[in-house]
């Protein structure tokens, strides 16, 4: 069991950079372009790791420390995630709270790294990031609480194996609403359209990208990698919920899970291809809406 858990962590560490590749490929396909190869992020990361980093004179050690620490935080978060019926490496009652806080820690590190540069752009980006995550975090917690109540378990490794096709038959509407809320949070937390535009070069409109403008070389590689892993975390939460194939066969479960992850990336790619970014003023409305949906779901499972 331990080996299987370790393997699934390694799977995440190795395959996570494929997700942005799939998203970009889908976007390129819809736009009628060839697009970069799916493994482009690996190339970028290896290239960046081979480069030196440039540090502004106004930055302190916080700036140098933030990317690596952020990466560490998200890797620890990954150890809490089960795949199908395979338990996570770390599992204990209440680990879902730790997961939320590890993601919060990662964000905190990105934000102080950005503020450390003293740039007005990065300050604006940090302010937006914190504002939106203050709204996104409660939604994440609400969905987790609803799931915990539904599965009657406080550990992610207990909750996810308990969700099966049968659960969907019994509590379909609640699970659908939880999924919708979780998808909205995923888009916000991973800086995707309609909340943020990962492709823009316009500093004044960015959220996540503007906070990492000053990072270069290996630091930037860590940030890209951490962002891919974070996307994997949210993908796992959503796929485990929406595709509850529990054959009992570890290999089949993992296969179904991976297929689900690519589907998740494809869905994000389609969302990004078919809608414009929201005006920044409207983003809180979307997140509050997701929160309302999560509350209704919670009421339904509490019934």
């Amino acid at each position: 069991m331990r080996i299987a858990s370790l393997c699934q962590l390694l799977l995440a560490l190795v395959l996570a950079p494929l997700l942005p590749g799939v998203i970009n490929k889908v976007k390129a396909f819809v736009a009628g372009r060839t697009g970069p190869p799916i493994v482009q992020l690996y190339h970028d990361m290896f290239k960046l790791l081979g480069k030196g980093a440039v540090y502004s004179e106004t930055t302190t050690s916080v700036f140098r420390f933030a990317p690596l620490a952020g990466l560490a935080a998200v890797i620890v978060a990954l150890t809490l995630l089960p795949i199908g019926s395979v338990r996570a490496l770390l599992a204990f009652p209440g680990d879902l709270v730790l997961l939320a806080y590890l993601l919060g820690l990662m964000r905190f590190l990105t934000v102080i790294g950005a503020l450390d540069t003293g740039s007005s752009f990065e300050g604006m980006g940090a302010s937006r990031e914190v504002q939106f995550s203050a709204l996104a975090e409660p939604v994440l917690m609400l969905t987790m609480v609803a799931l915990a109540r539904q599965a009657d378990n406080l550990s992610l490794s207990g909750i996810y194996p308990a969700i099966t096709g049968n659960t969907w038959v019994q509590a379909g509407p609640a699970l659908a609403m939880i999924s919708a809320a979780l998808l909205a949070v995923s888009l916000a937390e991973n800086a995707r359209i309609p909340v943020d535009d990962p492709n823009t070069h316009l500093e004044l409109t960015m959220i996540h990208e503007v906070m990492v403008l000053d990072f270069s070389g290996p630091d930037l590689a860590f940030i890209h990698y951490a962002a891919a892993l974070k996307l994997w975390v949210f993908g796992s939460l959503l796929v485990g919920l929406c595709l509850p194939l529990r054959t009992g066969q570890a290999l089949a479960d993992v296969g179904a899970f991976l297929a689900g992850m690519f589907l998740f990336a494809t869905v994000i790619g389609i969302i990004e291809s078919t809608m414009a970014r929201l005006r920044l003023l409207r983003v809180p409305q979307m997140l509050v809406g997701a929160g309302a949906i999560a509350i209704v779901a919670l009421v339904l499972v509490l019934r």
């Binding site: 007005s120 823009t200 078919t274 414009a276």
Partner: protein, 507 residues
């Protein structure tokens, strides 16, 4: 009295320079302020050296209804009462006059250099800057807002995208913009001065590269001026080809702009397709003359390339394909609620503000002003074949996008018509030597808006003054005003909806 003080001129007609009435400073001010106040747009205000140490300042006001341009002039020594307080659209011209000739408009609310160069009259600097020190662009006082919660954001002159240099200074309260000040001048090359003593074989190339995306527009405007001075009759065939080229330029830029607007709100389908279709349209210009931006096509007296049967058929076929593609791509914009949610109510300018600031082109038409030189001062083919003026009334990003889309449709129909009925005949009747001591005003509706060139010859028949007013010169302040009380994150979108030229302004 004020009604008869001006000289009336038609687009590209020329008169003797000494027929332009030289008024007293007070009369000049009253005349210009009265006409602009009555709704006549100020087209240009510029100076030339006059007797002694004074500068002769010319004022050009459009009379749209009559299709004429009214000129008057005055001699100003150094200080004079500013027109700006009573005629806001003069504010940028007066700053230019101060910078170039050291004139000091008394009462100008915000007198600063616009291009950051030394005065053309050594020793006459409006700000008493020593002539030996270098003037760095953008280094100047900026409007600042005090307060604990107000922060300043400076963007540029180096930008993240591949665009031209300009400096933007925002006074923000959180995400809200209180004020935006734009500093340009980083690309000042001295084009207006470089063409003096001409025209030479080089002059047309200066004109084609004034603003790279408006090669045909500026080249046409220059050629009209030269033809007006020399009294050349341009053959009908050449006039049609000019019209086609000008509309192709408009099409390529408008389509590119709609794609870029979609890109700025992160709406991929239209962004990708319009980017490609813009290329197709540029290639159509290349089919005519071998250059995607129409360089080498428009020449004084006519055009340098014809459109033969086979290329005409090819153009018609490609135009039809582009029309189909662009219709599909742009219709997606209007039918996607998330896109409309971004475009509507963003960067709105009222009709009144647009009138007071003297906006031109797409930005003016989006505010409901019927300003289009193809209708107001038609030349060449536009005298015979009219393109309806497209306006919208909300003045926001949506209106500017909508006006572009309507103009795309009408330009495509126009080009199609013209290609189907190409006349025959000569391509060019080269203008002879320019007559001495003449002045002419040439106006062309470029894709951004009104392009105005004023040319004057001296006693020997060479250019003694050449004034260029790119539409961007009028419109940059419109962008600054459109940003008031907007979200700073909407700046790129507003900026793109104006899509102004930096080098066309800086000259």
């Amino acid at each position: 009295m004020a009604q008869t003080a001006c000289l009336t001129l038609r687009n590209s007609n020329s008169v003797r320079t000494d027929h332009v009435p030289v008024l007293s400073v007070a009369e000049f001010r009253d005349t210009v302020v009265a006409r602009v106040g009555a709704g006549a747009p100020l087209m240009a205000m510029f100076g030339i050296p006059s007797r002694g140490t004074s500068t002769r300042v010319f004022g050009l006001v459009a009379n749209s209804e009559a299709g004429t341009i009214e000129l008057c002039a005055t001699d100003i020594e150094r200080d004079y009462p500013a027109l700006t307080p009573d005629c806001p659209s003069a504010h940028w011209f007066e700053r230019e006059l101060a910078e170039q000739w050291g004139l000091r408009p008394q009462g100008h609310p915000w007198l600063k250099p616009i291009r950051f160069h030394h005065s053309y009259r050594p020793g006459h600097d409006a700000w008493q800057r020593p002539s030996e020190t270098e003037i760095e662009p953008g280094v100047t006082d900026y409007f600042a807002v005090d307060g604990d919660e107000v922060h300043e954001v400076a963007v540029g002159p180096v930008h993240a995208g591949i665009i031209e240099p300009g400096h933007f200074r925002f006074q923000c309260h959180g995400e809200d913009v209180f004020h935006l000040e734009i500093a340009l001048g980083y690309q000042h090359r001295g084009v207006e001065r470089a063409v003096l003593g001409g025209p030479t074989s080089r002059t047309i190339h200066y004109m084609e590269t004034l603003a790279g995306d408006t090669s045909v527009g500026h080249a046409m405007c220059y050629c009209q001026a030269i033809e007006g001075l020399a009294g050349t009759r341009v053959p009908a065939y050449a006039q049609v080809i000019r019209g086609i080229a000008l509309e192709f330029e408009r099409l390529a830029n408008h389509v590119g702009d709609l794609g870029a607007l979609a890109g700025d709100v992160g709406f991929l389908p239209t962004a990708s397709y319009c980017g490609r279709i813009r290329g197709d349209l540029l290639n159509m210009t290349a089919v005519i003359c071998g250059n995607r931006f129409g360089r080498g096509l428009v020449r004084p007296g006519g055009v340098a390339f014809d459109i033969d049967e086979s290329r005409r058929d090819q153009l018609l076929m490609r135009l039809e394909a582009a029309r189909r593609d662009v219709t599909e791509a742009v219709d997606l914009l209007w039918t996607t609620p998330s896109v409309m949610g971004r475009f509507e109510d963003t960067g709105a300018l009222s009709r009144q503000v647009a009138t007071e600031l003297g906006l031109v082109g797409v930005a003016a038409r989006a505010c409901g002003l019927e300003r289009d030189c193809r209708q107001e001062f038609p030349m060449g083919i536009y005298r015979l074949s009219h393109i309806p003026v497209c306006t919208a009334d909300t003045g926001d990003v949506f209106a500017r996008a909508l006006v572009r889309w309507m103009e795309i449709q009408r330009s495509m129909a126009f080009v199609d018509d013209q290609l189907r009925a190409l006349p025959q005949g000569a391509l060019r009747s080269p203008p002879g030597a320019l007559p001495p001591s003449q002045i002419t005003v040439s106006v062309v509706e470029g894709w951004r808006g009104e392009i105005c060139h004023v040319a004057m010859t001296d006693e020997t028949g060479t250019l003694s003054a050449y004034k260029i007013v790119d539409p961007s010169f009028h419109n940059w302040i419109g962008l600054a005003m459109a940003l008031r009380h907007q979200q700073i994150s909407d700046f790129p979108l507003c900026n793109k909806s104006f899509n102004l030229s930096y080098c066309g302004h800086d000259l």
